[in-house]
Every structure is written in C-alpha cells, then in structure tokens.
C-alpha cells in the first residue's frame, strides 16, 4: 500500500514538474558577438557574421560566421559540435537553414579535429537559400549534456542536447 502511494506520488510530482516547465518556458540567455557560450565539448565565441555575395553567377550567396573554438575536454575531439553534430542553428523568418560547413581558418580546409588548450579560429559557412531577403537572423546554440556516471553502466557519456543560448544579429554586408 505504502509503496503504491509512493510510486503514484513520484509519478504525479514528475508530471507536475514537466507541466511547470512547459507552462513557463525558460527564456534562453541572449548573447552578443564576442561573448563565449559553452557547448559541452567546446566553448564557442562568435566574433562576427557577414554576408558574402556569390563568387560566380549561379552560385548561392554565403553567410559566414567567424568564431573561436576552444576544446574544454581532456582529449582531442573529432565531433566538436557533439554527436550527432549540432552546430549552431541559424534561422531567418522562422525557417531553419541547412547545417553549415566548418572551416579551419588556418588551413582553409574543413575542421577535422580540435585539441585541448589550442583555441582555433573557424568560419561557419551557410549557403543562403535563394528566397531569403537580407535581414536579421537568429542563431541557437546547443549544449550536449555530459554525465560522468550514466544511469545504465555508470560510465561517462555524452547525452542529450539542450539549447544553451541564442543570438540575434543583422549580418554585416547585407544591402
């Protein structure tokens, strides 16, 4: 009897907490360029956002975000934006854009790896959808949760992603 009451109470409490969470959605912290945000494995500091016209006729324009990435973990990371990758999500007018390409500025080549204590300048490159008219865009940064001892094996794991911060900005170079 006591056990049933206990279980029922726990379920109700859990439900209530969920309802409460949805009732008052937490406002994400707003950041501005230059402010670092913790994404779990890496710390990302957005530096600037700029619009680049197409190099050749027929190619889409590109939106570039220059940023600084620092590995916060104790080992070299291949999946800097977590796995599956959750790079900063860019949305304009409510529509999300496809994932950006991450370029290591030093090499002008895709970023393959990030070593601890070696911060790198990178450029995130989005292809601009043809129907987009220049204006403010919003970026959502996701943080992957790390648990030192997970509930299954007690081993350290990277788990769910949660939105960590949001940034609204008008890209430079927009006509």
């Amino acid at each position: 009897m006591a056990a049933s009451i206990g279980v029922a109470a726990a379920v109700l409490l859990g439900l209530w907490l969920k309802v409460e969470e949805v009732r008052a959605p937490q406002e994400l912290p707003r950041i501005v360029p230059g402010e670092p945000v913790d994404l779990g494995r890496v710390e990302l500091t957005p530096l600037s956002l700029s619009l680049v016209p197409p190099g050749q006729e027929g190619e889409p324009a590109r939106l570039l975000m220059r940023a600084r990435l620092l590995n916060l973990t104790g080992e070299s990371q291949i999946a800097v934006f977590g796995f599956p990758p959750h790079p900063p999500e860019l949305a304009a007018g409510g529509a999300a854009w496809p994932e950006p390409e991450v370029i290591l500025d030093r090499d002008g080549a895709p970023l393959a790896q990030l070593h601890p204590r070696l911060a790198e300048r990178v450029t995130l490159v989005w292809q601009v959808p043809p129907d987009w008219r220049p204006g403010p865009v919003s970026l959502t940064f996701h943080r992957q949760i790390f648990k030192l001892k997970d509930n299954l094996y007690g081993k350290s794991s990277w788990l769910l992603f949660q939105p960590a911060a949001r940034m609204s900005v008008v890209p430079e170079g927009a006509p």
Binding site: G74, E75, S76, I78, H115, P116, R117, L118, Y153, G154
Partner: protein, 182 residues
C-alpha cells in the same frame, strides 16, 4: 523493542550499501587497457607487438606533399614529431598512438598531418620486421616535457595492452619547419 531492532537492521543495510557504492570501481576505471610503463629508450612488450620510442623532434611548422599538392601547416602550439619503431609479434597490424601531456590531457594523432610519408596512421607492421613510422601531434609547448607516448592496438585499446613510452630525451629546441619527404 522489535521495532528498534528492525530500524537498526535497515540502517545498517543502508550504510553497508552506501559504503559498497562508494568503494566499487566505476565503469571508466574498470574498462581500461592494461598499461605498462617503459623507460626512455627502452622497448616495450605489448600483447601483439613491441615498440620503442626512437626519437622526438619539435617544429613550429610542418610541410609535406600529398597527391601532388604541397601542404604547409602552422600552429599556435607546437608540432611534436615522434619516431616509433614497431614490430608485430602475432599478425600484421596497425597501431595507434596518442600523447599524454604533462597535464594528463590526451592528444590524438594530428589529422592535419594525415597521409604524410611513413605516417603511423597508414603504416602496417609485419611480424618479424621492425618498421619505423612517424606520429605527429599538435599541442601546447608546455605539454611536451613530462608527457609520454601511449601506443596501442589500432582497433581495440580496451582490455588490450597499452605501452606508455617515456620520451627518449628532452626534445630540445623547436625547429622552424620540418619537411617530410618520402
């Protein structure tokens, strides 16, 4: 009286369980390779290979050519170039290396130096033949002294041997550029 006794038993049980939870080794410390430490210049014996840390150099930049294209890479830290001698003892195999820095952080083989001539990541070691390969790491300069080279089987490191090789000698000054030639 009986109630007091039951409470005591429950409390003792809880204390015992709590103590067991505290002292039981966690997953991360149980599922590990079998480490052996090897002094500078010595040859370490792993389950399926033996390896020696033959030489280390430091460079601010590295240069090599891949598929006919020249690459020059620079870094905010320093490139550590390790020469490793390996002989497989059971079957032809590849090995993987990482650098455990002075702070304990693990630096994987630099992917910016992938496909360099005689690079470790593409080298197969044969039984009965000692092969020499190059491992390139990119790391802050203060992680070099006091660090060690960790060498293990390239497929599974867990529950297999891992050799922790001390560097042969203080790697000395850093060269401005090192060119890798076939």
């Amino acid at each position: 009286m009986i109630r007091g006794g039951s409470i005591a038993i429950v409390l003792a049980g809880a204390a015992l369980l709590g103590a067991m939870m505290q002292i039981a080794p966690d997953y991360n410390s149980t599922v590990q390779p079998f480490r052996s430490h090897v002094a500078a210049g010595g040859t370490g014996e792993a389950r399926s290979f033996r390896a020696r840390f033959a030489g280390a150099r430091l460079a601010d930049r590295i240069a090599f050519s891949r598929f006919g294209t020249e690459f020059v890479h620079d870094t905010d830290g320093v490139f550590l170039i390790a020469e490793i001698e390996v002989e497989a003892t059971i079957v032809s195999q590849r090995i993987d290396a990482s650098w455990q820095g002075a702070s304990g952080r693990r630096y994987a083989l630099s992917r910016r130096a992938q496909d360099i001539p005689r690079g470790l990541d593409s080298h197969w070691f044969q039984p009965g033949l000692t092969g020499r390969a190059i491992a390139v790491f990119e790391l802050p300069p203060d992680e070099v002294a006091g660090g060690e080279l960790v060498v293990n089987n390239s497929f599974t490191a867990v529950f297999d041997s891992a050799l922790h090789l001390a560097p042969p000698e203080p790697a000395g000054g850093s060269q401005s550029i090192i060119l890798f030639e076939p």
